[in-house]
Symmetry: C2
Subunit: 231 residues, 2 copies
Amino acid sequence: MSAATSARVRPARVGRPNKDSREKDAREAILDVAEERFSRHGFHGVTVREVANAAHVNTALIHYYFGSKKELFDAVFMRRAEIINAERMAAMDAYAAAHGDGVTVEGAIEAFLAPVLTRLANGGPGWRNYFALVGLVNSTTAWGGEVMTRYFDPVIHRLIDLIACALPEASKEDLYWSYNFLSGSLTLSLAETGRIDRLSEGLCHSDDVEALRPRMIAYAAAGFRRVCEGK
Amino acid sequence: MSAATSARVRPARVGRPNKDSREKDAREAILDVAEERFSRHGFHGVTVREVANAAHVNTALIHYYFGSKKELFDAVFMRRAEIINAERMAAMDAYAAAHGDGVTVEGAIEAFLAPVLTRLANGGPGWRNYFALVGLVNSTTAWGGEVMTRYFDPVIHRLIDLIACALPEASKEDLYWSYNFLSGSLTLSLAETGRIDRLSEGLCHSDDVEALRPRMIAYAAAGFRRVCEGK
DNA sequence: CAATTATTTATACGCCCAATGAATTTACTG
DNA sequence: CAGTAAATTCATTGGGCGTATAAATAATTG
């Protein structure tokens, strides 16, 4: 189906487990390295040779598993998207079920953010790299919007529906624009460019999730209210 | 000083004015095309050949004027940064002078945003491309934070000082985090990924500055207040 | 243990990249 | 109108790119 002739879909765990006692699959090692590189330099700033070397595998192995560089990128993007989307859906469903009629803007946003912030804080470097990649893709003019739409729209519509319950007077336009502002704030925080560290001369740190979390929720909730209630 | 041996700094306008009666300098044409391409595909997603062809110029001419691809990128980034920075500084100075003791969060943010939003709405495609490029760079992990710091820090500190007048109780941390959220919202809007168009199924448009402006100001001001006043 | 299948490596192809330096064309200057 | 300097082109260099193919190696299966 895909571009190249091969691109195997990981058969049932056969073949030798890897020469030098590497604990993970070669396939997973490739994904990890690619994730880290793509998140820092973007799709075009990374070469498949570079990924192969850093993962200690042969270049051809990447094409054996993924078919092409583009398909490798997609595999990186998809791997954790499915996990985090399921977690966010569950968190919002649980919040809605628990509060039914009395949902608040703050509660909805917190449910929407919690899985991401938890993974960001405790998920290890893989998850941090992944979120930085999402932040980068989200701002990429050429194909960023399209990719984000494909992977993340359902979760976002769930959030907007939830907030619409808390703000029944809100217009669709106001809700979408407000979400766009929230999205920008979030993805810049995820990108971890070290910008706030430099700007604040060391007072704040991009990786300080505990400082980020309450401020992000308060800021976004207040913004939604003001835009959507007009007061 | 720079990488290549040459990289001329535009001498006094000599030489032939350009074969096929082109009105602009070749140099400006190169900058315009590079701006557009870099803003869509990032530094590594663009080749100097591609820029040369689109600008109807020989590849070597780019190296004649700019020395290297990296220096071309820097020239693109700097060209409009100086203009917009001066305008923003002037706008905030004027606002501070006019309101002295009675500055508000809304007023400060409006002064900070006004020159950008005006250029975005009425500055033509060059300015739109430029702002999209800023949006992309701002989210680029590898060197984005550093580049933004170098070019835009003074304006931002001016804004934060102004808001600090309106919110004298605010802590530095709260101000910096809030600014970071504002910055994310703004640069995502500038990036014009078409995301909000797709998300809203055509209801909202990324290039609708008149819809963006009042919502952006209201959202950010409310966020600042809530985070910095804690109420 | 032979046959098979999955994994990994070695090697190479064809293409395009950024960058150079010399040659050439154009316009200005005295 | 010759001389000079800027602008532009041409031809080339060396290297890295993504991808393809086939051989070699290792584990599984009958």
